[in-house]
Symmetry: C2
Subunit: 418 residues, 2 copies
């Protein structure tokens, strides 16, 4: 029997009528001949209520107990969804993490999958059940304690089940109808993509496109799980949404698939850093220890010599705006401890990152040139450039962000179907 | 290490401040040198919310899924209680039914205990944990599905743990401060009992005193678990509340310990029932099949012969008011089917049951006489009498109920400390 995984997020199961709506989508797939594994999140608002109680009880809470309390939200949805499917005549059974079992590490709050044995659920399918409704976001440790997976955990659960059960596809039902060439709030020329490659989705997700969580895309790419993003709130069929898949499945791809942006960026430059072997490690070690998520890094040869006459360099990096104070303190502490030497630093908290992403870049020259020309035509000054095999990112003044996104969307013809 | 079981019901853990209050009571017992097993109910209102969702999803719901959804309420409280205790510096760990495991039958919604192995919790106590917070009302079936125990399940869980772990005592914290000689709303002479025997508590519980659920008292009596009922909302010490214990522990007991009543009674008399062997079975079989909970039964020799000249008898029984219509239909159907023969029936829905209970009755004659004299002095007519070894119950007109309770409370001197 072919098998599908279908995942419904919190807004898609927010109340009994939405659970019914989601159950209808499951029923249709069963009628098409699929066995279905449904992954559900907590009814929206419920996780926040539970987290509020935990935080109201204990400031420095024990992550084991946090997980035990918070995971109950998904368990409730799983039971209700199974009941609703039964009410529709679809044989369904709910599964909590420990019942499958979804074996994870014991890193409570951010556990990772160890194994998902198929035996128990397969036995129920063999008995004639058509749907297994699995509580997302959770698992069980070797010690028999409930674990949770951390942010985006339900998407990751869905992909992991699709991999473990060899699902034909993993459908992620959410509150948007697919992946767009860019944020439709920035330009109404934004167009929904029919397909996008894993690598592109991964870049878009890590650049801030909130449709799918990075970790779930990584997992899908590793296990070649075909992911589909589609809307809970619209009538959908087999062609709806956006398919995230291997690039081999995408016949003719554009050079650039999408334009992403991130508003909350800050840039920090250390001026005239004494340039000796190991200086990069001496800078970024303390930053990592301080929990600063460094994104782009640029090292320039400085045009002046250091005070002691030795070679110096300017080191620039970007990080989320709310980590800048921590980054500054980490650098000053490292300087005070004699780990690094620099003359001063400049912080710019008014920047944004704009990126173009596309696997076509690999085989097409001139993408960077097109990008820089389009930005120059709008008089947008580029402060930092970083490139990867399938992505070019620039830091610019935040006030030009929308303008830059629109200009790039036009320059790469993203409003036109290829 | 001596061990205590402490149970907190829904109103005692209704919100975070009440959970803190309950945790303080646990902390004090730990400071007195006890290891403690805490049994918790769902925060009050939560179980109703969950049941509402289940019933809103499916009319004829699958009891397995009902249990999976509803049990989550207790799990949340268990985690929060463990966190609150940790916050107070008391090493605590939460336990869901499947983690202990609390092995039960698979009668979902009304499961019974099969076994409660001590190994897992004992291992945690050996590691230095002082408190195990166990989610009440639930267990796990041999099939690995979550079960619930039915009404009063958390009291029963507490007693079962006290038996399994050889607890010194099982303290049931609730919204009243103990067991009274009668309902204080009926007479302000009602007095809190320091001790009461299991058998007496059992009669009082089944007679409608809502302090403890019948099943938990039965279990306590069978395993000789000393039960204490006391208030969550008052400062309590080792002498608070009422101890429910073996009669050997009660030095000097009164002849009568308490007066109980039940308002929702109805009486039905079948007139001139053809009296042949097996007639009682022919009447009460169909009533049981119809789900009528028959309480008192009285059979009188009728003063007239039957229409066919054979011997006849009048048969009277009582049942809850809301089952009278069902009882009537069951009897008429049985007569129509030729299973029984009777001339007519009389229903009286305006009766109440008043009972006096006391193990002292066994060795004291004259209790019934005292009871009937006291009622006669108030001109209360007795309609049905039923007796057991430690209880005398009468059915009377409902309008005399309060008067009867007060008169009996006085007649047996229950307002005076013995």
């Amino acid at each position: 029997m072919p098998l599908l995984v279908m995942k419904f997020g919190g807004t898609s199961v927010a109340d009994l009528s939405r659970i019914e709506n989601a159950a209808n989508k499951v029923r249709k797939e069963v009628e098409r001949g699929y066995d279905v594994i449904v992954i559900v999140s907590a009814m929206s608002g419920k996780t926040n209520e539970l987290v509020g109680w935990v935080e109201g009880t204990s400031k420095l809470y024990d992550a084991r107990e946090y997980d035990a309390v918070v995971a109950s939200g998904e368990n409730v949805t799983a039971g209700l969804m199974a009941l609703r499917l039964q009410e529709m005549g679809v044989p369904a059974r709910s599964w909590q993490g420990w019942q499958v079992p979804i074996n994870t590490t014991s890193a409570h709050g951010s556990a990772r999958f160890v194994s998902i044995p198929r035996d128990n659920i397969d036995a129920k399918f063999a008995e004639g059940f058509k749907v297994a409704v699995v509580a997302g976001f959770q698992g069980v440790s070797a010690e028999g304690r409930i674990t949770t997976l951390g942010r985006g955990g339900s998407d990751t659960t869905a992909v992991a089940f699709a991999a473990a059960f060899g699902a034909e596809r993993c459908d992620i039902y959410t509150d948007v109808d697919g992946v767009y060439t860019t944020d439709p709030r920035i330009t109404d020329k934004a167009r929904k993509l029919d397909k996008i490659a894993f690598e592109e989705m991964l870049e878009l997700a890590s650049l801030g496109a909130k449709v799918l969580q990075t970790r779930s895309v990584e997992l899908a790419m590793r296990y070649k799980v075909r992911l589909r993003v589609l809307s809970s709130f619209e009538d959908t069929d087999e062609t709806s949404g956006t398919l995230v898949c291997d690039e081999d499945e995408i016949m003719e791809s554009k050079v650039v698939s999408g334009v992403a942006y991130s508003r909350d960026e800050a840039k920090m430059t250390l001026i005239a850093v004494a340039d000796r072997p190991g200086v990069a490690a001496a800078i970024f070690g303390p930053l990592a220890d301080a929990g600063v998520n460094v994104d782009m890094i640029v090292q320039n040869i400085s045009d002046h010599a250091g005070k002691d006459g030795g070679p110096v360099t300017d080191m620039t990096f970007s990080c989320p705006t709310n980590q800048v104070a921590r980054a500054q303190k980490a650098m000053e502490d490292a300087r005070a401890a004699g780990l690094i030497a620099y003359e001063g630093h400049v912080v710019d908290s008014d920047v944004a990152k704009v990126s173009v992403v596309g696997i076509g870049m690999r085989s097409h020259a001139g993408v960077a040139a097109t990008m820089f020309k389009a930005l120059a035509a709008e008089n947008v000054n580029i402060k930092v450039i970083a490139t990867s095999e399938i992505k070019i990112s620039v830091l610019i003044d935040r006030k030009y962000m929308e303008l830059a996104v629109q200009a790039l969307h036009d320059a790469f013809g993203l409003d036109k179907v290829s």
